[in-house]
């Protein structure tokens, strides 16, 4: 079984919700759609207060190459456009819509029929994906049309579909692979066509044998696509790690996957691409796992973007008494929510409720130089050294020590026996080095 060669950790999987089939969450009374729910420039609203909108209608336009369109997830009336706290707790502009009925744009094909081979060329597919506001659904929310636009002079050779889902607790990709397998394969074919590659590999960790066998069976009818079973190891879902595991190629420091001929998309994105191209449906809903150690019921919901997190928790039986932390995403890379009435965005893969006993950081002790952080770092960095440079504010030296290679997987902080906040200092360093780089180019 393949895996990436260096580093990695094995956090307890806790994938309690893997047996819960995808349920459609009832529509909320109102939704809040932040204009910045993708990496890059925020979208610009094209609706005004009082406007009637339908589900799937464009409500905010992409404002640059790295930006994405946003479509209304519901039908109703635009109530206001004003800043409101997003999952970071900071106020950012958002469109508020009061839900009325559930009327979709007439252009959207709502039938469940599988459409296999739409007759479109590469450019048409890319344009359509861009228009439908599709972003990377693995969590990074990078606009997908940018990723499939191969820059001049580069050539894509292989498409990798990321079904690894190495984050503990999360099961949304797992369920999607089980329930929408064929759709994912058609989406994969469309992405292959867009990229002009004739080879795609779906990487899945061996802890999801049902998904592996299901997709492998389906792949018999799609000879260009195959499933690769990967050894369970976090952070296998990291783009560079996945490429290394599957192709053996290493993306050089500071470069992009396309530099080694690879393009990686999440299974969720492949499904969204399928819906966008064959059903004409923009990205306005996604699968969200709601789970937690003390939750009696766990679920995977099909949720409209903009639905408040509180509704998801309520629908799953409410917050357990002992909840001490609510995480947007998985426990390794997710974000602790400061408020619970924030909305689901395109990047929300799960809501994890941590018991209060597991919510606090551990006491920090001196570094005992055990070297565990070095050995778990999948990028071959020295987290202990970066932290000490960070404490001394030696940003130039941090840049030399390749702090920018860090993908913030958190394995170092996870493994430290002294409970040291290694990643906190590395993040501080990355921000400061970014500032340095920007000031240099001025």
């Amino acid at each position: 079984m393949k895996t990436f060669p260096k580093g990695g950790v094995h956090p307890p999987e806790n994938k309690k919700a893997s047996g819960s089939a995808i349920e459609v969450l009832p529509l909320p009374k109102s939704v809040r759609i932040h204009l910045s729910q993708h990496l890059g420039a925020p979208a610009e609203p094209i609706v005004a207060k009082g406007d009637m909108v339908k589900a799937g209608q464009l409500i905010a336009k992409s404002t640059g190459f790295i930006s994405a369109n946003i479509h209304s997830p519901v039908s109703g009336i635009v109530q206001k456009i004003e800043p409101a706290p997003d999952s970071s707790g900071y106020k950012r502009p958002a469109i508020f819509i009061d839900v009325q009925g559930d009327e979709w744009m007439e252009t959207i094909d709502r039938s469940p029929n599988l459409i296999k081979f739409p007759d479109l060329n590469s450019e048409e597919i890319i344009t359509r994906i861009g228009r439908m506001g599709i972003v990377g659904l693995g969590g990074a929310t990078f606009p997908s049309h940018v990723k499939i636009t191969v820059p001049k002079g580069k050539k894509a050779e292989i498409l990798i579909i990321n079904g690894v889902e190495c984050e503990p607790y999360l099961t949304s990709d797992h369920r999607l692979m089980l329930e929408k397998g064929e759709e994912i394969l058609v989406g994969t074919q469309l992405l292959m066509k867009a990229l002009r590659v004739n080879k795609a590999v779906i990487g899945i960790e061996s802890n999801k044998p049902d998904a592996i066998s299901h997709l492998s069976t389906l792949c018999a009818r799609y000879p260009d696509i195959r499933v690769e079973t990967l050894q369970v190891k976090y952070p296998q879902g990291g783009e560079k790690q996945l490429i290394k595991a599957i192709t053996g190629r290493e993306v050089p420091s500071g470069r992009l996957p396309i530099d080694v001929g690879a393009v990686v998309h999440n299974v969720g994105t492949a499904f969204a691409v399928y819906e966008a191209i064959t059903k004409n449906k923009p990205l306005f809903e996604r699968i969200v796992t709601v789970t937690g150690k003390s939750m009696e019921r766990t679920a995977n919901y099909l949720v409209r973007i903009g639905t408040p997190v509180t509704e998801l928790i309520e629908a799953t039986g409410g917050m357990p008494e002992d909840t001490g932390k609510v995480i947007n995403g998985g426990p390794m890379m997710g974000q602790a929510l400061p408020l619970l009435d924030v909305p689901v965005t395109k990047g929300t893969s799960g809501i994890v409720l941590m018991p209060v006993t597991e919510s606090n950081r551990r006491t920090t002790m001196n570094c005992i130089r055990c070297s565990r952080c070095n050995s778990v770092c999948a990028m071959g960095l020295e987290p202990y050294f970066l932290m000490s440079l960070g404490e001394a504010k030696r940003w130039d030296d941090m840049e030399q020590a390749r702090v920018m290679d860090c993908m913030e997987c958190g394995s170092c902080s996870y493994t430290c026996p002294s409970g040291r906040p290694l990643l906190d200092y590395i993040r501080l360093g990355k921000n400061s080095v970014n500032r340095l780089i920007r000031s240099r180019s001025k």
Binding site: V260, G324, N366
Partner: protein, 335 residues
Amino acid sequence: MSATNLLTISYSPHQFGSESVQKIMYRVLIAMVPAFAVSLIFFGLGALAVTSIAVVSCMSFEYLINRFMFKAGSTLWNGSAAVTGVLLAFNVPSNLPVWMIIIGSLVAIGIAKMSFGGLGKNPFNPALVGRVFLLISFPVQMTSWPKAIESRFAYLDAATGATPLAILKEGIKNGQPLSDLMKEVPGYAQMFLGNMGGSLGEISALALIIGGLYLILKKVITWHIPGSILATVVMFTGILWMIDPGKYADPLFHLLAGGIMLGAIFMATDMVTSPMTPVGQIIFGAGIGLITCLIRIFGSYPEGVSFAILIMNAFVPLIDKYVKPKRFGEELKNG
């Protein structure tokens, strides 16, 4: 919402491994049990007395310094002071007077460890600093070795004899042929089990290897440091032995005699004072092996493991500066 707790906000990761400093230290203590048991068999009362005094005084000094000089919370139960205590005891003869053990503990904990800021900050192995301080200050008491088994029920009044390494050093200095000297030292099987004179924890290679395997199995240490030390000793002494077997002892003798096993498995592998990268650790180990052999064969002391480790401890920052782990994406492979 039914929850009554305030929500905690912190940056990721939100989940942590179960490893802790305390667990690591307790594993080291467990790994030292076989060697301690052997020392009880061969040195009896003395071993028990010296080890208890060293552990109690090391822990006391750690507590007192933390409490009254650092005015900080107690670090007593993380186990590191106890480890230093046992290691210090392992590195001294089993008939060392109480007050010397206490001075050794004070130097180990007070000077070598706490004066640099406590656990993790010390550049030199505390137990070895304590031992070398005692060796230089009290050379007579530190080199009078109780005879194994004979002196089981004695402490200060134990009958003493020379260690195998000392027999060789003295003999060669007096011009005796090696073949005669080798008859005076115990057989290799006896040395392997620990039936010879020496510091109380260093005698049994067997017990130390068992402890070392446990540490490797529990991922407290890796093979790099002990492996490279022992390999260097075998190579260096092996070359000399092949050149002149009448003058130089064979590699096996050098592996079984003295503190090389204790040093390689328990002293040099101290995380705080050894390099961070596997390659750095091999360089570090090779340096220790080389310096040990140079002192043993050409130096004036019969044994040199402690000096070798302390000297190489000083090179650790330099090694860590120049030996870096292989970065991901450093070279374009198949790309």
